[in-house]
């Protein structure tokens, strides 16, 4: 094995086959995973910016300053509240990771395409249509809130179900790709950590999103009658899907973060990840403990006080911080060969910091569940209850407070920061160039400050009694002040996502003009860097054979290059 990275294949920018449709027709009919992945990413960033605007407005409304009367009534406020959460998760973070995975995973495993390219394209277009209808449904007095017009609410539910189904299709495509399209020698234990993390995330989403779909269908069927019996009632709509935005399920959106950090940070520090199998097991365990389908507050209101929730929550938080704890000393001792520019590394470190903060916040909230568990031991004993009140009531009250929303925001900003880091890191493969510098300079600090602001300030808001579910009336002046700071933090996050969107758009424009760059600018060792930037149409000029976890270190540069050159000539 050589110590130098192998020379990578160099190829001209990809050109569509002769006779293939170009322009919009080309986009609409494309089954190329890279094109579809780029469309997921761009659309998700657009939806993300829209959802964040809703978030800023909500925070401004919470300040309760008389001059800021953003919404016309409490019902509209509820509608935007639910739109914000649904949009941030299902139109922004999950599709962003799916887009990145659709682009990168086939390259990482040495596949020429995804398993079902047309199904992958159908998933994207279904999701985009569903997302637009979802927002339109909210716009015509629909949404998951009381007071909406029944038909509009039905439309919103259908559109939401459409979005969930499309994500499930994309997940099935991704999982099948990982299981069936790997290059020769690429066993599951050799796949890069990002692919592994996407495998775990996709498995968790595959098992949990059908449950959400079931919730939505029940609501829709109940609403189809003359009068809803229980599930379609306005005040119950959001409650039934709220488990997706709560602990522990919310951490399912953090699993790909572990993969992106694991891919970027060790590479930048020049220190390969230690105990790779252990890391894989850890990511798998995070996935296992994220499954919160059984902890639906609507059907079992005291689910958060059960031992399963408390113990599971603590283990989950421990697993999340275990990675940085175990890998950091090894990284510090290494001799870093920092990439230039370092944007993706800085964004990964920002994401790591936010993830550790989220884990800490999760522990505080789980302790609140533990207080409820302690209460249930002797519910009739007044002195026992009083003692708990005096010692632990702040934690107890934290459940159902703004701290829940803060945790969700923190997780989502963490995920966004990591996904943007991934976009910067894989930009040569996505866009054929490294991304614009202004976005790289400004996105990390604004996302860090914005994310920490939303998380920590939200926790403070929870302690001062601000409820998570919206009431227009804040409980105290302190809570109003806290909301003002939250608004500023939300604006910062919006700026960060906006910068990433601009950078990605510039990347797409450059790609359309035929941009191409060095195949392996970061001297990485995984298979996606073995092909040109941007990759050729079928990803690799020759079929890849893998002998270890670092295929680029194993390749025989001379033999592979000559083989690749012959193949390129044949292709041309």
């Amino acid at each position: 094995m050589t110590s130098e990275p192998a020379t990578t294949q160099d190829a001209s920018p990809p050109a569509p086959p002769l006779g293939a449709p170009r322009g919009l027709a080309g986009l609409l009919s494309s089954g190329d995973h890279k094109t579809i992945g780029r469309m997921w990413i761009l659309s998700a960033l657009c939806f993300g910016a829209f959802s964040l605007v809703c978030g800023v407005l909500l925070n401004l409304e919470r300040t309760q300053t008389p001059r800021i009367n953003v919404f016309l009534g409490e019902e509209a406020y509820w509608q935007v509240f639910s739109l914000y959460r649904v949009g941030m998760v299902f139109l922004f973070v999950v599709p962003l990771f799916l887009g990145l995975a659709t682009c990168v995973v086939p390259l990482q495993i040495g596949a020429s395409s995804t398993a079902f390219p047309r199904a992958g394209a159908a998933a994207f277009w279904l999701w985009l249509t569903g997302g637009v209808i979802l927002i339109a449904g909210w716009g015509i007095d629909g949404g998951l809130a009381q007071g909406g017009r029944q038909r509009s609410v039905e439309l919103s539910l259908l559109a939401f179900a459409m979005v969930v189904v499309s994500i499930l299709i994309a997940v099935v495509v991704l999982l099948t790709t990982i299981f069936t399209q790997r290059a020769e020698g690429m066993s599951l234990t050799r796949v890069p950590i990002f692919t592994w993390s996407m495998l775990v995330s996709a498995a968790v989403w595959l098992l949990s999103l059908p449950v959400l779909l079931a919730n939505l269908v029940i609501m829709w069927v109940d609403l189809r009658g003359v009068a809803a019996a229980r599930y379609g009632l306005g005040e119950n709509l959001y409650e039934q899907v709220s488990w997706v935005f709560e602990q522990p399920q919310v951490f399912a959106f953090l699993i790909p973060v572990l993969g992106i950090i694991g891919q970027i940070v060790p590479l930048a520090f020049g220190a390969p990840m230690r105990n790779y199998r252990f890391v894989m097991v850890r990511v798998g365990l995070v996935g296992a403990f994220c499954l919160g389908v059984g902890l639906q507050g609507f059907f079992s209101p005291n689910a958060h006080t059960t031992p399963v929730f408390v113990v599971g929550g603590l283990i989950l938080a421990f697993l999340l911080v275990l990675g940085p704890i175990t890998q950091m000393p090894h990284l510090i001792r290494s001799s870093p060969r920092l990439p230039a520019p370092t944007f993706h590394l800085v964004l990964s470190l920002v994401s790591m910091a936010l993830m550790v903060t989220a884990a800490a916040l999760a522990v505080i909230r789980v302790l609140g569940g533990a207080v409820g568990f302690l209460r249930s031991f002797d519910a009739a004993n007044e002195s026992w209850q009083n003692r708990l009140d005096s010692a632990l009531s702040p934690l107890d009250d934290l459940w159902g407070s703004a701290a829940g929303g803060a945790l969700l925001d923190l997780v989502l900003v963490t995920a966004a920061a990591a996904a943007i880091a991934g976009i910067f890191f894989w930009a040569p493969k996505l866009f054929g160039k490294t991304l614009a510098r202004p976005a790289g300079y400004f996105a990390p600090p604004v996302l860090l400050i914005g994310g920490l602001g939303l998380g920590i300030i939200g926790l403070v808001a929870g302690f001062v009694g601000q409820p998570d579910l919206p009431g227009r009336h804040s409980t105290s002046a302190v809570a109003q002040g806290v909301s003002l700071v939250s608004s500023a933090a939300a604006i910062l996050v919006l700026v960060g996502v906006g910068l990433a969107l601009m950078a990605a758009l510039l990347g797409v424009v450059a790609l359309s003009r035929g941009a191409s760059t060095e195949a392996n600018p970061w001297s990485a060792h995984t298979l996606e860097w073995a092909t040109a930037s941007p990759p050729v149409v079928s990803n690799f000029a020759v079929a890849q054979k893998v002998r270890s976890m670092t295929p680029l270190l194993d390749q025989d540069p001379v033999a592979d290059d000559s083989e690749a050159a012959v193949s390129q000539e044949e292709m041309s």
Binding site: A115, F116, A119, L168, V171, V172, V173, L175, T176, F179, T180, Q181, E184, L206, L207, S208, L209, P210, V211, L213, A214, N215, V217, I218, V221, D222, R224, G225, V226, A227, A229, R230, Y231, G232, V293, G294, F299, S300
Partner: protein, 209 residues
């Protein structure tokens, strides 16, 4: 080895041939497996909610019945459906085996019988809906749940029929039917998942009421 032997050996060396085509991956089967897992979770959630709501209702309303007055959930028809679907498992496997042996006649017969069983179940479901007299608007919590569960099953059974039809066309139109064993096995997997789901549904909704 002498020089003569060596040259003779070299002379019989075959020409360089292209690399062997890698064996077909079971892409469709794996994908269908994941889709079936999705389906199982979906119905698992529906039945979980149903059983949880029924238990809560019965503990809160001692002495009253879960199925609203006036509605009748008979057991005979659902039981016949359960056994019909169980028989279709056998015919489906017959189709898979016939496909692996490229036996067109048996493929056609097996698929037709399977589809017939499926259509019979759909027909019985429609009959059941008319017979049970369960109004979705009567304000009961049971009605929307029962209709969601049975309606979802019916919808997915129709999808299973479509899947079966597509595979039938592919297999029967192909000069080599056994090449499509992956697709036929995938259709069978989906079908078996539907049968399994129905049996759970039958016990949870119709037997235990």
């Amino acid at each position: 080895m002498t020089t003569t032997e060596h040259s003779a050996h070299a002379a019989v060396q075959p020409e360089v041939v292209p690399a062997a085509v890698p064996p077909r991956r079971r892409t469709l089967q794996v994908g269908t497996g994941f889709a079936s897992a999705c389906l199982l979770m979906y119905f698992g959630a529906l039945l979980g909610i149903y059983l949880s709501e029924r238990a809560d209702f019965l503990s809160a309303n001692q002495g009253s019945t879960w199925i609203p007055g006036g509605a009748v959930l008979e057991l005979a028809s659902p039981t016949v459906m359960a056994w019909t679907l169980l028989l279709s498992v056998v015919t489906m496997q017959w189709a898979v085996r016939a496909t692996s042996q490229a036996d067109r006649r048996h493929i056609l017969i097996a698929l037709l019988v399977t589809a017939l069983f499926g259509v019979a179940v759909i027909n019985q479901f429609v009959f059941l809906f008319r017979q049970m007299g369960l109004e979705i608007d009567d304000g009961s919590v049971a009605a929307p749940l029962i209709y969601t569960i049975t309606g979802s099953f019916l919808a997915f059974l129709v999808i299973a029929h479509v899947f079966l039809f597509i595979m039938a066309v592919r297999v029967l139109a192909s000069p080599q039917p056994n090449v499509h064993i992956d697709g036929m096995s995938a259709a069978a997997l989906f079908w078996h998942s539907m049968v399994f789901i129905y049996w759970v549904l039958w016990i949870a909704v119709f037997v235990t009421k």
